[in-house]
Each structure stands twice: as C-alpha cells, then as structure tokens.
C-alpha cells in the first residue's frame, strides 16, 4: 500500500510537476474553453437563422401566395435542409479535418478553424432545438403580433424569439456541455486542447495513467460544474415563469 502511494506520488511529480508539465494542461484547458465558447456562439447564430427559415417554411408554405418570395424561400429552405443532413450525417472529426486540411488548407490558425468547424457543427443541432421551440409557441402569439401591425420579422424578433429562448435555454446549455466534450478531437488537426495536452505528456513520460486520468477528471469537473449551473438556470427560469 505504502509503495503504491509513493509510486503514485512519483508518477504525479513526473507527469505534472517536472519541467512544469502542468502548464501544458492549463494552456490546453484554455484552448478547449475558448473553442467551446466561440463555437457555441457561432452555433447559436447559425442555428437561430436556420430555425427561423425552416419554421417559416413549415408553417407557411401551404398558404403562401405563389411568386418570387415563395420560390426564394423554397430554395433557401432546401439549402438549410441539405446543411442539416450533411452536418448531422457525418462525424465531427471528419468535418474538422475537411475544414482544416481542404477548405482552409493555406491557414494554420488552428484554433480559429476549430471554432468555426465546431460552430458549424453545433449550428445544425441548435437549429433543430430552436425550430422545435418556435413550433411549440402558440399560433395565437403570431396572430396577436401580426394583428397589431408587426411584420413577420418584427413578430419573430419582439414576440416569438424571446419566448423561444426562455423555453430552450436549458437545452441549449446542454448542447454547450456536449460541445465541450466534442472539442476533444481537436488534436486531430494539431491543436493543443486539453486532451491533446494530456496525450503530449503521455508521449513524453511514457506513463499513460496519470495524464489521461487527470484529463478525464478535469473534463468531469467542468461538466459537473456546468450541469449544476444549468440546473440553477432552469430553476431561475421556472421561478420567473409568469
């Protein structure tokens, strides 16, 4: 037992303390959080726009007057559907590598590319979350907005979307937690995120246990923290549910 503990201590010192290896983990964690946060924001922007287009089509295409507007909406809606199918139908690692090695082959700003790639990926999932939120708002809310004289976009902006956000915020926060873990594949395109940092240490010290378990514990702590935060948020929203 005593030997086991002293062995563990030696491992800890070797993997984290020696040559300030813990700094790798800190930098990696920073990159992971940066990528996740920015990707989440990009995802929400893409997702909301697509959700509005898709739900507009779903609700109105049967009653719309034929003409340029309807044709344009049909084309844009088809493009959105294609985006959703492709993004949700392929692995995020493959998407990341395609964006890194093909689309931005001349750029080596890995972190910015990862933000974009994960943002585009997350946008597809956010779009479906928000679309569900929009479709669940009572049609009477649209009608009340329109009857006051708001046009479609104003009704969305002032009346529908604020209500949708309140309803889907917990689900969006969960999407953020999922995204946090998904960014662990960033190492595929030479980004030093948290996972990659652990792997680099493993490669140097030839002892996999400490760095990998360490990385896992950091992820776990983060997820538990954010889950707790989401729970708090949900309770706050319920309390203010007038």
């Amino acid at each position: 037992m005593e030997q086991w503990i002293s062995n563990l201590k030696a491992q800890f010192i070797l993997n984290f303390i020696e040559q300030d290896r813990w700094k790798l983990l800190v930098t990696g964690l920073g990159n992971t959080l940066k990528i996740t946060l920015v990707a989440c924001l990009i995802g929400i922007c893409i997702g909301v726009v697509i959700a509005i287009i898709r739900s507009t089509w779903d609700k109105n295409h049967e009653t719309m007057r034929k003409g340029f507007g309807k044709g344009l909406l049909a084309v844009v809606n088809a493009i959105c559907k294609l985006y959703l199918t492709v993004i949700r139908g392929t692995p995020v690692v493959v998407q990341l590598m395609i964006i890194y090695y093909i689309i931005f082959a001349s750029s080596r700003n890995g972190i910015a590319i990862a933000m974009l790639a994960f943002g585009i990926n997350s946008g597809a999932y956010v779009a479906e979350i928000v679309r569900g939120g929009i479709m669940s708002i009572d049609a009477g809310q649209f009608e009340a907005g329109r009857s006051l004289g708001f046009n479609y976009v104003q009704t969305m902006r002032y009346i529908i979307i604020p209500q949708v956000f309140k309803n889907v915020l917990p689900t969006l926060a969960n999407e953020f937690i999922v995204l946090l873990k998904e960014t662990s594949v960033s190492g595929y395109v030479a980004i030093r995120d948290l996972t990659k940092a652990g792997d680099i240490i493993r490669g140097v010290t030839y002892s996999p246990f400490m760095p990998l378990i360490g990385v896992a514990l950091i992820y776990l702590t983060l997820v538990i923290f954010f889950t707790w935060l989401v729970g708090k948020l949900e309770r706050r929203l319920r309390d203010s549910d007038h």
Partner: protein
C-alpha cells in the same frame, strides 16, 4: 350612425383543403363608421373565418375587402399598415407572456407608430386606468384572471388607436362570472363611437349594443338586420331554428 363606409366586403370566399371546405361562400356586406356589427351563427358557420379575413389573418380565396377605399386583398398592398388601423381581440387573449402589461401595451406603439416610451406609457396607463387595472401595470399576464387578461387585450389593441375593433368570441373562454366585466368594457367602447365587429354567442350583448346583426350559416350571410328584426322577426327558417336553440 353615419353612412361612411369603413369596410366594404364583396363576395368574400375562403376555401380550405383545396376546395373541399367552403368556410366562406360569397359574403358581401358593408361596415359603416361608428357602427357595432354583431356576427352570430352556429359553430362552423364561418363567422370567425369572416372576421379573421377582415384583417387577412386568413387569406381569402376570392372576393375583395376594401378598407377606407383601399383594396387590402390586392397583393401589392402593405397589409401591416392597414392592420395597425384594425385592432383585434382574440378568444384566448394572446397577451405576450414574457412582457409586463405595460410592455404588452407599449411595444407596438413605440416600434410601429414611432411614439416615445413616455408617451406610449402615459397612454397605456390611462387606458389601464379606464379598465381598472392601472395598479397591475407591472404584473405579467399569467398573474391575471381571464377577465382581466381580456380587458388588457382590449386596451392593448386600443393603444394603436385603431379605426375599427374586431372581436373574435371575446368572452367564450371566460368563466361565467367574468363575462360581464369584459362586456362592460366593450359596451363603453361602443358608446364612445368605436366601430366594432363582434363575433359572439352573447345574444344579450347583440341585442343591447349591436346596431346591426349578421346571421351566418354554412359560410353564407343568411340574414342581416337590426337586433329587433333579427331577434323579434326572424325571416329565414335557419335563423328561427338557431334562435330557438340559443334563446
């Protein structure tokens, strides 16, 4: 009652599901300034569809609606501007649940009429005062009773200073003891000379406040006349049947 025509409806048609269901099958009428028109009829007769066509919440299949001389069914017409002149009150209130009453009432005037926040709030508070809810200005809709919600919905529409108010069964979703307070607000509005089109099952209101009653059945305007003519001397068998059931 003056004879200025505010809304002219000609041969209005609304078909659903292709041409399978004829919700409105050629309705023509005129709504004059200052008039209170009450639309009655059995459920499924098309009276709500008729009302919802007036501000194009339902797009008519055929026919024209002319508001103050402008054909609003023309595709080139900006319906949003015309809807500002037509206040609407719904069966299920449709207040915005994420806004306080004051915000419910000021959002449209500030965003659409370019009113300042102070100006819009002053007007909103005056109107809330009139319906006895000034002290609830900062409450949220779900903290109100049904009758209170509907009173707020009425004054929300009035904040836009409309030329005509459309009521779509405004008391049908209310508990019986709350019907009176909403009808009182509507009566007061009528006495002030507001042009109103009211779809309702409240025959007492139709008789007392209505200048003209339209009786609809099967998507058609079967009979129209003064409340006396409709309630005391119904001509068509359809109307006699209907009145026998509801009175």
């Amino acid at each position: 009652m003056t004879t200025d025509v505010l809304i002219k409806v000609e041969n209005l048609q609304k078909y659903f599901k292709g041409d399978m269901i004829k919700a409105l099958d050629g309705v023509s009428t005129e709504i004059h300034k200052g008039e209170v028109v009450v639309v009655i009829g059995p459920s499924g007769s098309g009276k709500s569809t008729f009302l919802r066509c007036l501000n194009l919440l339902e797009m008519p299949t055929g026919g024209t609606i002319t508001l103050e001389g402008v054909d609003i069914t023309d595709p080139g017409c900006n319906i949003n501007l015309h809807r500002q002149k037509m206040g609407m009150v719904f069966q299920h209130f449709n207040l915005f649940p994420h806004m306080t009453l004051l915000k419910n009432m000021t959002i449209a005037p500030t965003k659409l009429l370019g009113k300042s926040k102070e100006e819009a709030e002053k007007k909103a508070l005056e109107l809330l005062e009139r319906v006895g809810l000034a002290d609830r200005a900062d409450a949220y809709p779900n903290q109100l009773s049904g009758g209170q919600k509907q009173r707020v919905a009425i004054v929300r529409a009035l904040c836009m200073e409309p030329d005509v108010m459309l009521f779509d069964e405004p008391t049908s979703a209310l508990d019986p003891e709350m019907v009176g307070e909403v009808l009182d607000v509507m009566k007061e509005l009528a006495h002030e000379g507001m042009t109103m089109v009211v779809v309702t099952h409240e025959m007492g209101f139709a008789r007392e406040v209505g200048n003209r009653v339209l009786f609809m059945a099967d998507g058609r305007l079967v009979e129209e006349g003064t409340p006396q003519e409709i309630f005391e001397h119904p001509k068509s068998e359809r109307l006699q049947d209907f009145l026998a059931k509801v009175l």
